[in-house]
Symmetry: D2
């Protein structure tokens, strides 16, 4: 299907490439003309303004914003709300705060414009491996966009199947999910990131213990303010953290 | 090579099976005669006492203890120290506290008996997938036991290779590692478990947030002791946690 | 000086009493007429509506709101904004979110009405001991209200003087402080509460350790899932927590 | 009563002074002769070796060790065990690990020597204000030492009485407590310190928030990696932390 991509940075550019490879017709815009020209050589149609982008798409239009959160995304949503028509859809694939999604969806609804919030995971490896997507918005709008999500996602088979999953159906196994109402996509992605940082803290704390496992060999004087180590002979391990992480990695898969 | 396995529970039984499949000659003992008889039908030679087990092995012997930590393992190490001879090796593959390893290794060294501590990961899936092992003890003893570790481990190819790993060499990529002196194996496994529980806490906290994402719809009266929710409209999400975890899983691989 | 008190619950009623004792002229209002009548017997002038309260005060008026945060306070500020005149001041002594203070101050400023946010600490002991107050708003408005704050506060001498404090001057030693712009009062009180809950968590965790100091005497079987206590003889203490807290209390004063 | 004090540093020296003022007969020892001579001028009898100290005391003797924990205390307990006789008592007023107390008490019991562990709080202010003590050991031994503890402690009246305390009796209100068996004194003091550090962490975290309450005024560019502050106008407070801590202090007393 046809889609407009706004923002051709590390994420947006590769997403347009993956969509083009998947047979979709992309029209691409970036405030930097060179980014537009470079990508246009690979197939997508170029647009040099938001107005031109809107004009080159047939109604009902789908426009995917892939910009830094905050002002850039906010201003682009506002700018698009003017030329777009009832039935068109704005998809915010960036890292917007989900509360902004709820507000924007409400504002755009008064003009009949649909809003879809997509928490997108994948980073610079996404072109090859695909992007995981957590999606919030109206069910029928998201179903119309399904070919786009299916192409961007990794698809079944990219990881070992969770036992029993085949009976549950749905798109989660393909790497994307309609989570709920507007805001639900970025909410679920926000929690995803929170868990991720918690995991990194867990790894860091454990590796810190390993790194200090030779503390018994450190030279330190006992005084009135410092408790001497009771069992320095228990902390004499000089460990190879890179090798240990490799073994841990094998344990947890 | 030849090895004696003590303790034929969920872990030890399957390890003896995997070793037998791998061409090793196992002699197996369990305080429960039925466990010994059942396993003997699959190839390993049976032993009905520690003394018989020791007799059926040729020096220098290797005996792998796979028992609950604490008294069962402690008493077995003590019982083995009598019939064993200089040059034999006791391997504790259970979850002993690494401080006990340091003490036992020192005590057994006075008799010339080697001690090897192995933190073993794999659970009930280990028979098929292999066991990750974190190993502490003397270098040359562990090198002699390498065929055992190589057979128990998952081996290269069981997970995608870490980029650059092929240049580093060593056994970590196969899923086992000689971490350092006595105690280092169980120390590294202990930290592994600590990290693992930290990760589970991270997942739990995040999923807890998702589960309460519909708190704005809960009925609650404001009073002098309870702050009313300022923005109940932001917490109206009824989320499908099973689907979300499936998508998260795809994101993190 | 003259002041109107709105809300005669556990806090507001006693504050009016302390102000009356301190020689101030209070006019008091509560949505419950009986609370008004009861307090009027002790000196303050009664008012049975916000309008009557405003009428009974001479301009420039000072009105102290002491209501549950959220809707009750919000609606009262809104209701007062109509009869009040330029130069009057609304003081919110409750637990409002400081962000609401910033908004209200801005809204009222357009009518020339001043807004002062006061984080009030003291609870039901305040009548006798005085109330600590953390204050946000315009400097000159707060200076005009200083007689009110000075009477409500505990005053110098209620606790041992911090060494060197006498050289610093200011009102902090008397138990109240103009912290900064609008919102600063409730912000500083919010952090005060956060610290307080952190302290309580610290006490609770420590007392939990004391309570379980006899865990070595508990009956528990070792199994594959439960690590047995290595040193049960170290955890045989049956402690009297009430006595210990009394001793701790003496340590920390 | 008569008591020997070993270690005349910041703590031990002042404790000997407070005991002397309280009418007790102190014999004092320190490995530094000058410390002994200096204190002897204020009343206590000097001793220049542990042997001399023991000789100058009448049986049953009481010897209070006030040394750094670890080796200094351990070696002194060992050295004293030779000249002391059955019925004598060693009191460790330092910061020993309570597990060492349990071991030492057991070892000394075989010779009939009593051991008392005392967690002592008070620091350099103790001379004037008194020392809080958490005590572990045999009940009758501790009762014989009660005059010593009563003199060292702050006593009733040094802080406001806890309501209802007068009905409970016991010594906790005077600032010392027989907590339980050997080890209980240092165990309860250890938890006291743990709580104290938790409280300090709570204060630090809260003050950190106050210190950054002007973060909205910091200059920072938004980019793809940094979420811009949504509400910089809410973080414009330049707060005087010293004044705020003074007010907090008044709130919590």
């Amino acid at each position: 299907m046809q889609i407009g991509m706004i923002g051709l940075g590390r994420m947006g550019g590769n997403m347009a490439r993956r969509l083009t490879k998947g047979g979709h017709q992309c029209v691409v815009f970036d405030r930097n003309r060179e980014n537009v020209n470079a990508l246009a050589k690979e197939g997508p149609a170029p647009a040099y303004s938001l107005e031109e982008l809107v004009e080159k798409l047939s109604a009902p239009r789908a426009l995917w914003i892939m910009l830094p959160s905050g002002a850039p995304t906010e201003e682009t949503v506002a700018a698009l709300s003017k030329p777009l028509e009832s039935g068109d859809a704005i998809i915010d694939g960036g890292n917007s705060y989900y509360v902004d999604d709820i507000r924007r969806a409400k504002e755009l609804a008064s003009k009949g414009i649909h809003y879809v919030d997509v928490g997108t995971s994948g980073g610079i490896w996404g072109l090859e491996r695909g992007y995981c997507m957590m999606i919030g918005g109206e069910r029928d709008v998201i179903q119309q966009l399904d070919p786009i999500f299916a192409t961007l996602a990794p698809g079944i088979g990219s990881i070992p199947r969770t036992p029993g999953r085949e009976k549950l159906g749905g798109t989660a196994e393909q790497g994307y999910l309609h989570c709920g109402l507007n805001g639900a996509g970025h909410f679920v992605k926000m929690v995803h990131n929170g868990i991720e940082y918690g995991l990194m803290a867990g790894y860091a704390e454990g590796l810190g213990v390993l790194k200090s496992a030779n503390a018994g060999a450190w030279q330190r004087e006992a005084d009135a303010e410092t408790t001497p180590s009771r069992d320095p002979e228990h902390y004499q391990h000089d460990l190879n953290l890179a090798d240990i992480v490799e073994v841990y990695h094998g344990c947890w898969i």
